[in-house]
Symmetry: C2
Subunit: 462 residues, 2 copies
């Protein structure tokens, strides 16, 4: 006899934590560091704050399998009313809006808290103060897994004695430092490449302190929130938007709720769907919704999203990052114009670095990024690896083994990740095409450099 | 100003449907067929019913982008009280118990319903009748995405005129038959290899009817539900089990709630944790729970799970399946003894097929299965591909190109899938090791056959 049951999101992700990257103590330690660091960077560079971040991993003095991971940032802080849910309720987030951020799932911090709770039995410790707040708030939060609600174990606040603003998050968990050490250092190194404007201090369990020093003062353009684009719409989304819109007419609804839709476009879509533009949004019936979606899909005159809301890194910062970390002989980067997939604008950036201190390898070393997050695992199923491997590098003057590194960065209001652990990107055709165009462009610049170098060498030999 | 928000599971998976395999119309059509077929097979062979399944994909007469997918089975049916949630509420399942089934997430059918709702605007149609029921029940169900609750659009029942039992599920959705045709046929073909005891009729949108006929009468041993094994326990799980257990003492709790724990083992664990065996489960405090988990982890005398609850396919059925579908010259299969990872017993089975109608290829064709589900995508990041590629096939008398197919099947109460779309398995060390031992064993048998064949040929030539 089948026993039916419903799970809460916390029960579901507790049972399937490996889906989120928490598959064993070594991966869990890595994932905890990255989830907290990504939150810290979102809280700073997305708000034009030059990030100053401290990451400390300590080994427990009693139980050598236990570690504490602490990440402090100088970001915008978290309003105290939201702290319990931000850390104690799965699927709770401030990043569910249409804006390019590292975070997108509302799971990262909670999965780390959950893993810590399962393996070390301790609540997460959060200290935070928003910029305009006169107080500093501290919490100890645990997740009630059965109900997906936060349990506040301890809370308090005190008056701020300084101008400090930001957040400190500390999680205790079972880890495996020896097995995750190289991946954690590589993650930090790759973060320094894509975010050379960040000051990151890292103290590891062996007491080693590494300072990834800011090497450029320039910050990327911060991301802006945008309205959805009509080409990303489906029947369900349109129904939800129609029922919650404050617009008084169908025409006002389309112009107000979507980007790239002016009066002319709205009237054309409405007429194509055989509807009355003065209809109240809530009066559109199911068949009307379907005809609207159909009209939008078949309309070829709707302008694509501009993409100027995206926060690309830019060639200057990428080259500075590659130079500072890889110390190559040659470096070049490119930022492509915005493109679109499924109604989401995206920008592909590519960088190439050659020679200098780069170690020769049998195929290009690939530095993959999505919304400024370094992706280290599952390279084999990532679209960027597929593109880089499909290129005949001999055409660009490169014969392996060669000291060649390729950087690929995709930014978008929605990254088509293959899993909630954010390790690889699906091969969406539009994205794959843009990556290829970007990589071939920087490869051509490398070829020009190698050709020029070879000629200079031949010249010198005469 | 950050806008915080909570999502329901339906809102989350609606926004991130590509995580579940619904990334575009072609993949969605494929995923819908497989999710429904996997439910149909779970409802039959896990209950010792020889599956008779009909899969029909029709193209909409008006809109050539729309399809209906209908799957009918002769399974155990669904009790009518559970139908609305089974199809209209995400994270609702009868497979959240510790038993080896294809289903495990409580998402499959709902994701297909959701995709159909978004792209075709139609509810799912379900007709079902449990074996002992005198009525046939029918429903049209939609998902209220905002609240993750079912909306019953239509319902009814009538008296059964025959002995029919089973379920028919029909979903309308946007698809792309031309792009998913070969994958759908391959999925059915691979299902026929692993389940040659199933009768599957498939009618495609072009009107073609293919009959995957039962080629063996033997069914696999059905899976049994088991209690959790102590080696899979963590602090959170133990807390939840202690608070919900009906046991009167801590000793009774351990013996009753876990497999492989008798009185002696229970007393040893309790004493190691410094606790009183007569303590009521609900009186164990946080520190006591941590000490219990620690005692269990460091105890080396707890028997590993027996694994006799697992439903392996067995060499006879695997060889029959490989013969019937691939028509090779040589075939051999092996079922390994149960092994363990993270407290879950698992069995690896391997099959090898050579020559005959198999087309030569540059590396072995890999047929991957997990809990009898064929895995077709993301082969590059799957542990089985990693193992098969790491083997030097020259040692076994195979030089490529060669007509060689390798089958790998992992069965367990928990498959470490990399994503909820069930396409690839993570490389858990214990599982990887078992796959290698199994594949090398059937490779040795192939070598013996090839050697014998070569000798016979040399003999004949003299
Ligand atoms: N260091 C921080 N500074 C400011 N806000 C933070 C910080 N850490 C977490 N938050 C807030 O808590 C929320 C939840 O974080 P969490 O990592 O769980 O989800 P997310 O970042 O929104 O999405 P993802 O699962 O993709 O990481 C964030 O959306 C953010 O609003
Ligand atoms: N054809 C069927 N016959 C009997 N029961 C079914 C059938 N299809 C669905 N069900 C029931 O509906 C439940 C939900 O199915 P669904 O596919 O959504 O989740 P699942 O199979 O439990 O897990 P997964 O997401 O891994 O597929 C199943 O657990 C099962 O109880
Ligand atoms: Mg986050
Ligand atoms: Mg299912």
């Amino acid at each position: 006899v089948e026993r039916f049951r419903a799970l809460t999101p916390s029960e579901f992700f507790y049972r399937n934590k490996e889906l989120a990257g928490f598959s064993n103590p070594a991966r869990a330690l890595y994932q905890t560091v990255r989830e907290l660091l990504e939150n810290a960077l979102d809280a700073t560079d997305s708000h034009l704050i030059k990030p100053v971040i401290k990451v400390i991993i300590k080994r427990d003095e009693v139980n050598e399998k236990l570690f504490s991971v602490s990440v402090e940032d100088n970001g915008i802080g978290i309003p105290y009313t939201h702290v319990p849910k931000a850390f104690g309720q799965l699927l709770y987030s401030s990043k569910y809006v249409l804006r390019q951020t590292r975070g997108m799932f509302g799971l990262g911090a909670k999965m780390a808290v959950l893993y810590g709770q399962m393996t070390a039995g301790k609540p997460v410790e959060v200290v935070t103060s928003p910029m305009l707040s006169r107080r500093i708030y501290f919490f100890k939060v645990a997740i009630d897994v059965k109900t997906n609600t936060p349990r506040i174990v301890e809370r308090g606040s005190y008056v701020k004695g300084s101008g400090w603003h930001g957040t400190i998050v500390k999680i205790s968990l079972e880890g495996d430092w020896m097995r995750s050490k190289s991946k954690i250092y590589e993650y930090l190194r790759r973060t320094a490449i894509i975010a050379p404007y960040a000051d990151i201090v890292f103290e590891d369990p062996e007491g080693t302190v590494v300072y990834f020093e800011r090497s450029i003062e320039k910050l990327p353009v911060p991301p802006r929130e945008v309205k959805p684009h009509p080409k990303g719409v489906d029947i369900e989304m349109l129904k939800m938007m129609l029922s919650s819109s404050k617009a008084k007419s169908l025409k006002e609804f389309l112009v107000r709720e979507f980007q790239s839709v002016g009066e002319v476009t709205a009237l054309r879509i409405i007429s194509e769907a055989g509807l009355d533009p003065t209809l109240s949004p809530r009066e559109v019936d199911s068949s009307g919704v379907e005809r609207l979606v159909e009209a939008i899909k078949s309309d070829n005159r709707i302008k694509p999203p501009k993409g100027d809301h995206l926060s690309f890194v830019g060639p200057e910062i990428i080259e500075a990052g590659l130079k500072s970390v890889l110390r190559p002989e040659f470096v070049s980067a490119i930022t492509r114009r915005p493109s679109v997939y499924a109604g989401h604008a995206f920008i592909v950036e590519a960088g190439i670095a050659f020679g200098g201190e780069i170690q020769p390898s049998d195929k290009p070393i690939l530095y993959r990024y999505a919304n400024k997050i370094p992706l280290l695992y599952d390279e084999g199923s990532d679209v960027a690896r597929k593109v880089v491997d499909s290129i005949d590098w001999g055409n660009y003057g490169v014969s392996f083994p060669a000291p060649l590194a390729v950087l690929v960065h995709i930014c978008s209001t929605k990254i088509p990740y293959k899993g909630v652990g954010k390790e690889s990107v699906a091969d969406v055709p539009e994205v794959q095409k843009e990556i290829e165009l970007a990589v071939r462009e920087v490869a051509r610049r490398l070829r020009r450099y190698l050709t020029k170098k070879r000629r200079e060498r031949e010249e010198a030999e005469r």
